[in-house]
C-alpha cells in the first residue's frame, strides 16, 4: 500500500457529536482515515452510519448545525485543519478540498446561470479577470463532456438533466485543481447508464489531475468499480478497512460479510438473499458493547459487554470485531485484561463461535 504515495489526508480518532434537546447524538465516534495521494478511498455505510457527517467535518461545514468536533485531528498534508480560522477554512474549501453532493439540484443555485456559478468558484480562489475566469469555466465544462457548452453557460439548473447537473458540480469542484475531492453519493440519484458515464468521467479526471477522491457511497458495486481502498462504517465507527480486493475476497467483520451477501448480484441466482436481521439502532440509544452485536449472527457474550478494539489482521486490513482478536498479533488498542477474563469465563461459547465461523 505504501507504494501508492504518501498520505494526503489523515483523520485520527474523529468524534463529531450533535447536542440535541433529546440528548447527545454521537454521529461520528472514532473514525480514522488515511487517504493516499492519487487514490480513491471508498467510504461505505448505510444511512445514519455517519459517512456524510465525517465529510462535513473534514470540510469544516458544521457551523450552523448543532454538531461539534469534540475530539480528534484532521490533517491535510500534515497540517491541522480543525483548529484554523473560518477565513482559512474558506480558502481551503473549493481550493484544496472540494466536494460534490448527492442531489445536484439542491446544491446548485437555481437563480444563477451555470457559467456564473462555475466562474464564481474560480474567482474565489484565483486572482484572474472575469474574462479569464469565464473562459476557464467554459474549459472545465467542456472537460466534463457536457453538450453545447456555449449555450449551457447561459442556462439555469432547471434546464439541465440530472446527469448534466452532476457534471456541472464536478466541473465546479475540479476547477481549482483540488488535492482532495469528497464525493458524497454522487451517482445515487442518477440512472445506471448515466452513473456509468459519471464514474468513467471521475476516473479519467482523477488520472489527469492526480486528485485523490474520498468516495462516499452505500453501493458496493460502485465501490468495487472505482475504489482502491475501502472503509466500512457502522454507527459512527469504522468497523473494517482494507484494500478493495481484500475486502471483497475476505471480509472479516460480520457486518461487511452481511452487506456483501445481501446485495443481489447479476448472474448469480439464489432462492433467498442473506439479509441482516433488524435495523440500524437509534443513535441516541446505542447498545452497550459492540454496536452491531444485536444484529450479528456470530455475536457471543463478550460482544454485548465490551466494545471490541480495532484489530489488525494483515497488511492494511483491520476489523473491529472480537472474532478477529485471535488472528491478530496485537490489537490496535490492547485490553489484555478483557481477553483473559473472557478466556476464563466464556471459553466454551467462544470455541463454539470459532467453529461456527467457517
Amino acid at each position: 500500500m505504501e507504494k501508492r504515495g504518501h498520505t494526503i489526508l489523515e483523520v485520527r480518532n474523529l468524534r463529531t457529536h450533535f447536542m440535541l434537546d433529546e440528548g447527545e447524538v454521537r454521529s461520528v465516534d472514532g473514525v480514522d482515515i488515511d487517504l493516499k495521494e492519487g487514490s480513491t478511498l471508498g467510504f461505505v455505510g448505510e444511512s445514519g452510519s455517519g459517512k456524510s457527517v465525517t465529510a462535513l467535518s473534514i470540510m469544516g461545514l458544521l457551523m450552523g448545525t448543532r454538531g461539534k468536533i469534540t475530539e480528534g485531528t484532521i490533517r491535510l498534508d500534515g497540517k491541522d485543519i480543525v483548529h484554523i480560522s473560518e477565513e482559512e477554512k474558506r480558502k481551503l474549501r473549493g481550493g484544496k478540498i472540494s466536494m460534490i453532493f448527492q442531489e445536484p439540484m439542491t446544491s446548485l443555485n437555481p437563480v444563477m446561470s451555470i457559467g456564473k456559478q462555475v466562474e464564481e468558484c474560480i474567482l474565489q480562489h484565483e486572482k484572474i479577470t472575469h474574462k479569464e475566469a469565464w473562459e476557464k469555466a467554459e474549459h472545465m465544462l467542456r472537460m466534463t463532456g457536457v453538450p453545447r457548452v456555449e449555450h449551457m453557460m447561459h442556462e439555469y439548473p432547471f434546464q439541465l438533466s440530472g446527469g448534466q447537473r452532476q457534471r456541472v458540480m464536478i466541473a465546479m469542484a475540479l476547477s481549482c485543481k483540488p488535492r482532495i475531492l469528497i464525493a458524497d453519493e454522487p451517482t445515487t440519484a442518477l440512472d445506471v447508464t448515466i452513473q456509468a458515464q459519471i464514474l468513467d468521467l471521475m476516473n479519467t479526471l482523477k488520472k489527469e489531475t492526480g486528485t485523490s477522491i474520498l468516495f462516499i457511497t452505500h453501493d458496493l458495486g460502485v465501490v468495487a468499480e472505482i475504489c482502491d481502498d475501502v472503509v466500512v462504517l457502522y454507527c459512527g465507527r469504522v468497523v473494517e478497512k482494507a484494500d478493495v480486493c481484500t475486502l471483497f475476497a475476505h471480509p472479516a467483520h460480520p457486518y461487511t460479510q452481511g452487506l456483501l451477501a445481501s446485495v443481489p448480484q447479476l448472474g448469480v441466482h439464489v432462492a433467498e438473499l442473506d439479509s441482516i436481521p433488524g435495523n440500524v439502532p437509534d443513535p441516541r440509544h446505542l447498545p452497550k458493547g459492540c454496536k452491531f452485536a444485536p444484529r450479528c449472527k456470530k455475536a457471543f457474550a463478550l460482544c454485548f459487554e465490551e466494545e471490541p478494539g480495532f484489530f489488525d489482521l494483515e497488511d492494511g486490513h483491520a476489523s473491529r470485531c472480537w472474532l478477529c482478536e485471535k488472528k491478530t498479533s496485537g490489537p490496535a488498542n490492547n485490553q489484555p485484561h478483557v481477553a483473559v477474563l473472557v478466556a476464563q469465563s466464556d471459553a466454551g461459547r467462544q470455541g463454539e463461535n470459532k467453529n461456527g465461523r467457517r
Binding site: S47, D191, V192, I194, A196, Q197, A224, V263, P264, S275
Partner: protein, 337 residues
C-alpha cells in the same frame, strides 16, 4: 387470451396533456403502445431508467391513470373503460405497493386503521373481533408484532413501513400486486429483508407480481420474466435467464454492462451510452433508441422496429434482427409476450 394469463395488456397508450409553447397542445407519451401478458403466479419484472414510463404503466394497469387507448384485461374482464365506481370491486383483485414508504402511509392513522381500512371498505370482516384478528394476522404475515398495531407511521423505520404497505395490499387477498420500486428507498441490508419477504409471500399466497424497478440486479433476483422499457415502449421481453445471459437489444446490453458489479477482480467491457434519455414529448422518430444506439443503422432513424421472436419466450424490438422477418409477430394480432 390463454387460460393461464391473469393480466393481458394490448396496445396500451397513456398520454398526458401538457400545455406547450404558445398554447399549443402537447402530449407526454409516457406509455406508447405496450402489449404484454402476465401469467398467473409469475413475477413479471419491468426495468427501465427514470422517465421511461414504467411507473405510469404500473399505475395504468391499476387504473390510477386513465389510459388514452388500449385494452387491459384482468382475469378475463376488460377493465380499460371502467370508472372508479366500477373499479372498486376490481381492487379486491389488484393492489399496489408504492415506492416511498414515507409518503404512502397516512401519518395521522394508526397502523391498525391503515391496515383495516381496505377490510372495512370491501366489507371483508364480519365484526369488530374478526377485524382485529385479521389485522393481527396480516401484521404477523409481514413480520411485525401485535403491539405495532397501536403505533403510528412515524414510529417505524423505512423497512418496517414498507412491510406495513405490503400488509395493507394483502388485506383484500388480491391476486395481482403491482409493486412500484418497493425497495429502492431502503438501505441495502433492509432491502434484502423486504425482497425475501415478498418472495416468501408470493410462494405462500400464490400471488402474481408486476415488479417495477430500475435496479437490474433486484429485478433479476425476483422475476421470472422481464420487460425492458425505453421511452414508453418495451425494447425486449424475455424469460429472465435468456435476457440476462443473452441480451439482444443494444439498450439492454448497455444497461447490463453499466451495472456496477460488487467484485473488484472482474473487469468488463463497458458500453457507455452517450447523452441521456430524450424527452417523451417529442420522442425521436423510427426506433426511439436510435439517438443513443451504438449500432444505429439508417433504417432505425425512420422506421419503428417490429417485435421479433428471437427464441422461445424471447422477444426483441430491433432492426438488427430484421433477418428474423419471417417470424415477425407485430401485425398478426397473436402477440404473446
Amino acid at each position: 387470451m390463454g387460460e393461464d394469463n391473469l393480466l393481458h395488456v394490448e396496445d396500451l397508450y397513456i398520454h398526458y396533456l401538457v400545455s406547450g409553447q404558445g398554447g399549443r397542445k402537447e402530449y407526454v407519451r409516457a406509455v406508447d403502445g405496450i402489449s404484454f401478458d402476465v401469467r398467473r403466479g409469475e413475477v413479471f419484472g419491468i426495468v427501465g431508467e427514470s422517465g421511461c414510463g414504467k411507473s405510469t404503466l404500473g399505475r395504468g394497469i391499476c387504473k390510477l391513470e386513465t389510459p388514452s387507448s388500449g385494452t387491459i384485461m384482468l382475469d378475463g374482464e376488460n377493465i380499460s373503460n371502467y370508472d372508479s365506481k366500477r373499479m372498486r370491486p376490481i381492487r379486491k383483485k389488484i393492489q399496489m405497493v408504492f415506492q416511498d414508504p414515507y409518503a404512502s402511509l397516512d401519518p395521522r392513522m394508526s397502523i391498525f386503521n391503515i391496515i383495516s381500512e381496505p377490510l372495512i371498505i370491501h366489507k371483508l370482516a364480519s365484526n369488530k373481533q374478526d377485524l382485529e384478528e385479521k389485522v393481527i394476522a396480516l401484521l404477523h404475515k409481514v413480520g411485525l408484532e401485535d403491539y405495532h398495531a397501536r403505533r403510528y407511521p412515524h414510529e417505524f423505520s423505512g423497512g418496517q413501513r414498507q412491510r406495513i404497505g405490503i400488509a395493507r395490499a394483502l388485506a383484500v387477498e388480491p391476486q395481482l400486486i403491482i409493486a412500484d420500486e418497493p425497495v429502492s428507498a431502503l438501505d441495502v441490508s433492509i432491502q434484502a429483508q423486504v425482497l425475501n419477504l415478498m418472495t416468501h409471500l408470493q410462494k405462500e399466497l400464490k400471488l402474481t407480481y408486476v415488479f417495477i424497478a430500475h435496479d437490474l440486479s433486484v429485478v433479476e433476483h425476483i422475476s421470472d420474466r422481464v420487460g425492458v422499457m425505453y421511452l414508453g415502449n418495451f425494447v425486449e421481453v424475455s424469460d429472465k435467464e435468456k435476457l440476462y445471459s443473452h441480451p439482444l437489444h443494444p439498450y439492454t446490453q448497455a444497461l447490463l454492462s453499466a451495472v456496477p458489479i460488487p467484485n473488484p477482480t472482474v473487469k468488463r467491457n463497458r458500453i457507455i451510452l452517450e447523452g441521456s434519455i430524450p424527452s417523451a414529448v417529442n420522442p425521436p422518430p423510427g426506433c426511439k433508441f436510435h439517438t443513443r444506439c451504438p449500432k444505429c443503422m439508417e433504417i432505425c432513424e425512420t422506421v419503428p422496429p417490429r417485435c421479433y421472436k428471437a427464441d422461445e419466450g424471447h422477444y426483441v424490438y430491433c432492426h438488427l434482427y430484421d433477418d428474423l422477418e419471417q417470424k415477425a409477430l407485430y401485425n398478426e394480432g397473436d402477440i404473446r409476450i
